[in-house]
Symmetry: C2
């Protein structure tokens, strides 16, 4: 009698022990996505920098807020109508590229030779297909060129004249240099050159008020979207750094640094001093922290910005959107132009730190 | 009597069960580095492709083996004399760049316009500093230009004419186009153009025997080293893909794709169809699988090549060296020129799959 009772007890305890052990091991594996409906959504940024309320005029604040809302609405409408996340990212970024308020397309910053060289990239989280252009001039919407590289070549990245010729062959819209020119970006270049030493193209006009985001050489636009099919796409477009060396490539066109999307984790777009985002592979790192360390999107963004980028002395921001439609952002600058809009009804636009 | 015997048995089985469970969990945690002395070592590759014994002549095999050994000996001597891993990587790669046997520097492949555009990158695992050049012509040793970008600019990546002007300002050695030209690479271009359609520059000479590694458009040189201080460096240099579009940037100059080094994990250099290594962030992924999933270097390389790259339809190889001086490589092509040399006395050179 005792013998059978103990045998039973023994068997039970062993089962409990094995189950609890298995549970412990399972916690280190990927958790399965919940079967709940994924909301469609998009999140954008328009650059991070020393954006403080005291530097801002009410007119400027309104202009930025309106343009960010217009960008969000454009992408949202595409998603609402059943469009793909790639298309939503493209058209949302186009709005910001076409506005002189942001350092991308029209209003891109100037390099040390007084030229505008733009970078852009896109990644499709479903297929991991990606496209990028680096150091292109006169292409009205560099993000369109990046998408063209993704869809129409066996390559991921084209640069300089080769990328421009390719864009021409595919009838992308080109504009004269005057289209991209803005006086405040040019004055920013001259001030940067006076400050940083080396060759100075001209004397800056002291009457021209410093544009804080330029003065700190950050500024990029980006968008991450998830569509009704649960496909994530991420894209980034930029003029790079004011007074950058001719030929410098930042993080924006580097897949894994400035842009990354993967349906099993998240999509990410970066803005900031690009070199630090390259050295940390910031966007890919966020995805891996979710996939391999089971961090939430919010925790992963925090780790990359406030630990990894911080420890190298870098600055900037990240926006992200995970496979469940959760949205988060983080930055270690004073502010970041940012916003999101979700099918759950949320619509948020922010500029300053809070 | 029975009661006590079963209690004892029960207790013993539970202890065994708990220990085996703990062991399982421990395997998912980071193993601490052993206090044993880290051997200095280096590992190299000279490209992966359809390298099969039946395609090889004894003379060619000897030439490759001798050159790989010369490269290994050069880097080893630097490490043995207390030099840094960066210097060892540079000088080892220089040997391969200066040899027409490899697709880097002299003997680089031709793009669709019949030009040679080279890429290179370097990363310092101690500081995570990195440098890269993309699409440069006439610079004798592109890896030297990458190191110069790392050390003499605030940037990570310079491309095209901007990178060349920068290299000139720093008195890097330039060579005429004729220095880089090799007849077999040019014939490879013509064959590729005939096969792939589109513009054909000339008719290929059918007497010229196909160079298998070119025909498959792979070929890159790379080196990862760990020095006596335990600092890891990784570098990669390439002419890219035969018949690539003008301006195409592959994985070799992309930090995290073709090259990555981090003292807390490993150093990695890639070779293969670069686009797949960009989309998977192959080199950074290896490091993250070690850091976050506690895979060994060998397991991580296997996962990236045989699961992640394979699933996208990509091909190529990776070499790696971890913080304890362990060396591993993996590839899904028929062969890869490769070798390593360690302070423990091992010296290995291999060409084919085995």
């Amino acid at each position: 009698m005792y013998k059978n009772l103990f045998k039973l007890l023994l068997a039970l305890l062993l089962i409990v022990s094995i189950i609890s052990c298995k549970k412990g091991l399972d916690q280190t594996k990927k958790t399965k996505p919940s079967p709940k409906e994924i909301p469609f959504a998009l999140v954008i940024h328009g650059g991070a920098g020393t954006i403080k309320k005291e530097f801002m005029t009410p007119e400027k604040e309104t202009a930025y807020t309106k343009k960010l809302q217009e960008a969000l609405d454009t992408g949202y409408k595409i998603l609402e109508n059943g469009g793909t996340s790639i298309e939503a990212v493209q058209k949302t970024i186009n709005i910001m590229e076409n506005s002189p308020l942001f350092n991308a397309g029209k209003g891109a910053v100037f390099n040390s030779l007084g030229k505008q060289e733009m970078d852009a990239s896109i990644m499709d989280g479903k297929t991991l297909n990606a496209g990028a252009v680096a150091g292109v001039s006169r292409i009205k919407n560099p993000i369109d060129a990046a998408i063209l590289v993704k869809d129409s070549t066996k390559h991921v990245m084209l640069s300089g004249k080769g990328a421009e010729e390719f864009a021409k062959q595919h009838q992308l819209q080109f504009e004269d240099e005057s289209y991209f020119y803005t006086e405040n970006r040019y004055q920013s270049l001259l001030r940067a050159q006076e400050k940083e030493g080396g060759k100075v193209l001209n004397k800056s006009n002291s009457k021209n008020k410093p544009d804080f985001i330029d003065e700190h050489k950050k500024g990029t636009v980006g968008c991450v979207a998830i569509d009704k099919s649960g496909n994530i796409a991420a894209g980034t477009s930029t003029g790079g750094m004011t007074n950058k060396k001719f030929g410098r490539i930042g993080d924006a066109p580097i897949i894994g640094a400035g842009t990354y999307a993967n349906n099993i984790t998240c999509g990410v777009s970066a803005t900031g001093t690009g070199e630090f985002f390259i050295r940390t592979l910031a966007a890919h790192e966020v995805s891996n922290l979710i996939q391999y360390k089971n961090l939430s999107l919010k925790q992963a963004l925090k780790q990359v910005i406030h630990v990894e980028i911080d420890s190298l002395g870098g600055d900037g921001g990240l926006i992200g959107l995970d496979k469940n439609g959760n949205i988060a952002w983080d930055f270690n600058t004073a502010g970041m132009y940012r916003g999101f809009k979700k099918s759950t009804g949320e619509n948020v636009i922010k500029i300053y730190s809070e």
